[in-house]
């Protein structure tokens, strides 16, 4: 088994900066943006993107978290997962542009669950998807709008995202 680092600390920072600029560009500014992370590491990434978008856009952009555990279609195939908190900013999501943030985009099933979860919370005008790594192998017709890095991988490989707030170090590694 070998582990290879595909993104270092500076690469992650650069990727998030670029994603933040792209979000502002596609939304034509910071108005009505809400950035929601999918636990666990998506929330950390969403907070960082929220800070960057607020800085580049010149006004505070609300961030939050969206837990999808109870909307998953594979609950009975895994050990019981503990749900994580969902925190929607006070302004809600109705009529807003919601940017979902996840660390690794793989099968697309998490995002499918996230879209269902969003629907129960409100009705956003637009939903976009940002991911730090897109490793391919989609099971569903879902594609990201903002990607940090496209990472062609085989099914057997594992992609790990480490973030300072959670893991103590910053790196994206691929294990094969």
């Amino acid at each position: 088994m070998s582990t290879r680092t595909v993104l270092h600390e500076a690469d992650i920072a650069r990727a998030l900066t670029r994603i933040s600029h792209e979000i502002l560009e596609s939304n034509r500014g910071p108005e009505d943006l809400v950035v929601l992370g999918i636990p666990t590491r998506g929330v950390t990434l969403a907070e960082r993107i929220g800070v960057l978008v607020s800085e580049f856009g010149g006004m505070p952009v609300p961030t939050g978290s969206l837990d999808v555990t109870m909307y998953r279609d594979d609950l009975h195939r895994h050990p019981t997962r503990a749900p994580q908190p969902t925190q929607i900013p006070p302004g809600g999501i109705d009529g807003k542009t919601v940017v979902l943030v996840d660390d690794v985009l793989f099968s697309g099933r998490t995002i499918r669950a996230a879209l269902d979860a969003l629907q129960d919370i409100g009705r956003p005008a637009v939903v976009r998807l940002a991911t730090l790594v897109d490793r391919g192998h989609r099971d569903l017709p879902i594609r990201p709008d903002f990607v940090g890095k496209n990472l062609p991988s085989s099914h057997e490989e594992r992609v790990n995202v480490h973030l300072a707030e959670i893991d103590g170090d910053e790196a994206v590694t691929i294990e094969s």
């Binding site: 109870m70 909307y71 009975h76 050990p79 019981t80 749900p83 969902t86 629907q119 129960d120």
Partner: protein
């Protein structure tokens, strides 16, 4: 978790896990759409051999909010009244494909028999058995205490240092038993106050202090005062002379309520006998958590059903 049968054997970690998941469930109940798709396709049977309104409705609401199908089965008007045994009833439910059975039974230990007999593969939730236990009631009580104490910061916490006084018919109360064990494993200090005739004989083995004087217990300044229902059907058995005397000596009247510390809460598992163990003033005061308990009951039962039913099962039916 495979079954939820009692709080005596429930570990501190599992108890906190249930309470934490209940926090998440409570959050989803603030949403525009309260129904979650989580248990779609699962069948929950409410098997009630004893009368119950709130517990059955609470379990029914919990299962429906998680999109499970609910079958209500009460002993009255069913084959039970024709003499069908628990085994045959259980096997009928198994054949119908029940994934979880919520059982209330007059005999202590009936849920454990159901869970360990091999008659069914479904997860079993004890909704009250004889004078043994009523674990979801104790869990919702602990949830309510934790919420009052820690608010939004409740996740992951236990009840260390919380002083709880339980007053009333301890002898016949499964709610008291479940609370004693759960509160003990969560680090709370429990005091029981009752007429000597309503204290069980084996109470010396329980991790509690026992008192007979409600005024002295209130002067001690408990954080939580939990009043138990006096079961009127037991009045003929001469545990105390008259209702009036019970109410004077062990009832929570307005004067006793005012003697409590300002931030103490008053709990009651319901249904209340207003004017007997609790006065209307106390029941309707801002200290009273009676309605919080009802609302929290749905969240706690959603959490229990989620943890029992959502995960993968291995070949022995164990939810991992």
């Amino acid at each position: 978790m495979r079954h939820l049968l009692d709080t005596k054997t429930l570990s501190r970690e599992d108890a906190i896990r249930i309470l934490d998941v209940a926090e998440d469930m409570a959050e989803t109940q603030q949403r525009e759409v309260k129904k979650l798709p989580t248990l779609r396709g699962k069948t929950v049977v409410n098997l009630f051999f004893e009368d119950s309104t709130r517990t059955r409705i609470s379990f029914e609401a919990a299962a429906k909010r998680l999109s499970a199908d609910v079958i209500n089965f009460s002993a009255k008007g069913s084959s039970i009244s024709k003499g069908e045994s628990l085994q045959d009833t259980a096997q009928t439910l198994q054949a119908m494909g029940a994934d979880a059975v919520v059982i209330r039974h007059g005999a202590s230990g009936a849920p454990r028999t159901l869970a360990t007999s091999g008659w069914i593969t479904a997860g079993v939730v004890n909704a009250g058995d004889g004078t043994h236990e009523h674990p979801t009631q104790a869990l919702l009580d602990a949830f309510t205490m934790r919420k009052r104490r820690h608010g939004d910061d409740s996740r992951g916490r236990d009840l260390a240092g919380t002083r709880v006084t339980i007053v009333g018919d301890i002898l016949h109360s499964r709610v008291a038993r479940s609370n004693v064990w759960l509160l003990h494993s969560l680090g709370a200090e429990v005091t029981l106050v009752a007429p000597p005739t309503l204290v069980p004989q084996d109470v010396s083995a329980w991790p509690v202090r026992v008192g007979y004087d409600l005024d002295a217990a209130i002067a001690d300044g408990p954080d939580v005062l939990m009043m138990l229902r006096i079961q009127l059907e037991r009045m003929n058995a001469a545990y105390f002379p008259t209702e009036r005397e019970y109410s004077r000596t062990w009832g929570l009247d307005p004067m006793r309520m005012d003697a409590l510390p300002a931030d103490s809460i008053v709990m009651h598992p319901g249904p209340m006998n207003r004017g007997l163990e609790i006065s209307a003033e106390a029941a309707d005061s801002a200290r009273s958590t009676v309605l919080d308990q009802v609302a929290n009951g749905v969240s706690v039962r959603m959490a229990a059903l989620y943890l029992l039913l959502a995960g993968e099962r291995d070949h022995e039916g164990e939810t991992r």
